[in-house]
Symmetry: C2
Amino acid sequence: MDNLLNDIEEILLMGPGPSSIHPDVYKALSRKTLGHLDPYFIKIMDEIQVLLQSVMNTKNNLTLPISGTGSAGMEACFVNLIEPKERVLILINGVFGKRMQEVSTRLGANVDTLEFDWGTPIKPELVKEKLESDSYNLIAMVHAETSTGVQNPILEISNLIKETDSLFLVDTVTSLGGMEVKLDEWNIDALYSGSQKCLSCPPGLAPVSFSEKAYSKIINRESKVPNWYLDMSLIGQYWHQDRKRVYHHTAPINMLYALYQSLLLFKEEGASNVFKRHMECHLKLKEGLTELELDMFVEKPYRLPMLNAVSIPDGVDEADVRKKLRLKYKIEIGAGLGPLAGKIWRIGLMGHTARLENVERLLKALDRILN
Amino acid sequence: MDNLLNDIEEILLMGPGPSSIHPDVYKALSRKTLGHLDPYFIKIMDEIQVLLQSVMNTKNNLTLPISGTGSAGMEACFVNLIEPKERVLILINGVFGKRMQEVSTRLGANVDTLEFDWGTPIKPELVKEKLESDSYNLIAMVHAETSTGVQNPILEISNLIKETDSLFLVDTVTSLGGMEVKLDEWNIDALYSGSQKCLSCPPGLAPVSFSEKAYSKIINRESKVPNWYLDMSLIGQYWHQDRKRVYHHTAPINMLYALYQSLLLFKEEGASNVFKRHMECHLKLKEGLTELELDMFVEKPYRLPMLNAVSIPDGVDEADVRKKLRLKYKIEIGAGLGPLAGKIWRIGLMGHTARLENVERLLKALDRILN
């Protein structure tokens, strides 16, 4: 049997994640595996928590990576924070808002939604209206909607929710590490992300953070969390610095090395430099796309720097373009999801992918294919 | 900030997992990341499924690695196969049987148990008696109890369950890849394992397999699986060869490379050679322990080759011995869990760890520390 790994090509990952990986992160991945209760590994865990707190701008004690992908982070937040019949409001303008609705409905919550056209942002005035007539145990939204490239007005919505007793849950899968996320300042009670987007670590881990208010909800639940694997009160006992390290499950050691290295790279470059690099790449891409007569799907004020939705011109076979990019130019870009399938491409400029030379390489390739 | 990864030492992992990693698996981990819908990555997924079927001795179509650790595999099996109020019987003789009870109770099952002394096997005659008076939707047991080193009589129990309508769920976290696991022949309906034991891949993946009968239960459930992340009907749509690859969550690409490589190594060595190597190491260890006047905790017929529970002699500070092994001799062994804390050590001989030179190295170190 041939070893397929020998023939893996290096593909420039410009889809909606995973993003391209820094050489130091590959090196981190293959460091010698330690035991999950090894004293030296525990030092690394401690540092991961400090680095995550820094990238999230939080002092939350319960800040750690879940042993699963970003969607496990979503599942973890809902399953810990809501109990059957509790009232939940989900603000939806894309696939990941819909996924929140599905996850919380399956958990038996009483789910209400406010839906907005895909490609447009959540409208704070409608949220305000909703909150005047109704109250919720938890309100959830996506910061950066990976399926549409829309940035939602989190600060305005946060200011509305602050006036209520609701827990505030935010998906920062695509935003964290590529733009400002201010967990404490924005009064976020629970946040999840993924390792494989702007943090530029391979997929497999979901950084999460819970405020004191959220933690208090978890430990005062009427019923046990109906998901042992993701019970934050148990996982917290393994991760927390101030407690005995109680074995829960075997942590994914090498993936955690990789996350540690990704977070170190972020820290070394400095948050503001990283965000500036993402924005510069986005502006360069936008400029080049305009020259190619390609339009952005999202209006300017709501565009995400790291996830660029591009409208597919009439008469273009979008799948064929992606295939040529992948096979001839060794570049991956993403297709549209759900109702946007066939209507947009999604071009990711995340983490280590977000470099000007990569933007130029993609623009040249698109030019050759389309013209 | 210093990079802690630079000072990771190579520790010989002789605890209950993770086990030591083959150099080829480290190399696999750091292969270039591909997208989770990349055509070349999908080829690798296909091969992983074939290799997993082979190590499990099954033709089950729904055979794949869950994106989480072994405990996520346990959670996945229960949450997909049981609905609230359904009757479950758990056969318990250690931590992982107790964990099954906890997981299924949290999911709202009507859970009955049969408990046996830790360090002794499940007694088929008592299971037989139980099944004469009661019936269950699902019966679950651990094949190789990692917490005690006991091998449970799976064939006898399988023969009893075969006569009922119950689904049969088996934990093979510690056995798979180190001793025979015959999923189809033993009429197992659902099985989960972990990547970090005898398969010698880092922790982070949970191979699972579901029979046609189990799959039929899943797709005919009255209620949706109350765990979107682990819903096998959705995950199956991403993994199944005979269907369109529908995006569910971003697969942990590099961990899957590592699992693929581990499974290739297993195949290249050949199952019977691998099992023989594990058994030879176990016998060598037992011989050496006897010379050191150390006793096995489990009676001979029930001992696992890959997980050796050793009784701690009177007057020995067990934690101090483990500390010396780790710091001076760079060897990790495991402590006892729960009621066995302070009473046993757990010495793992799993996968790449299971080599005679490693056994000799441990025995020499133990000799120097104890004598």
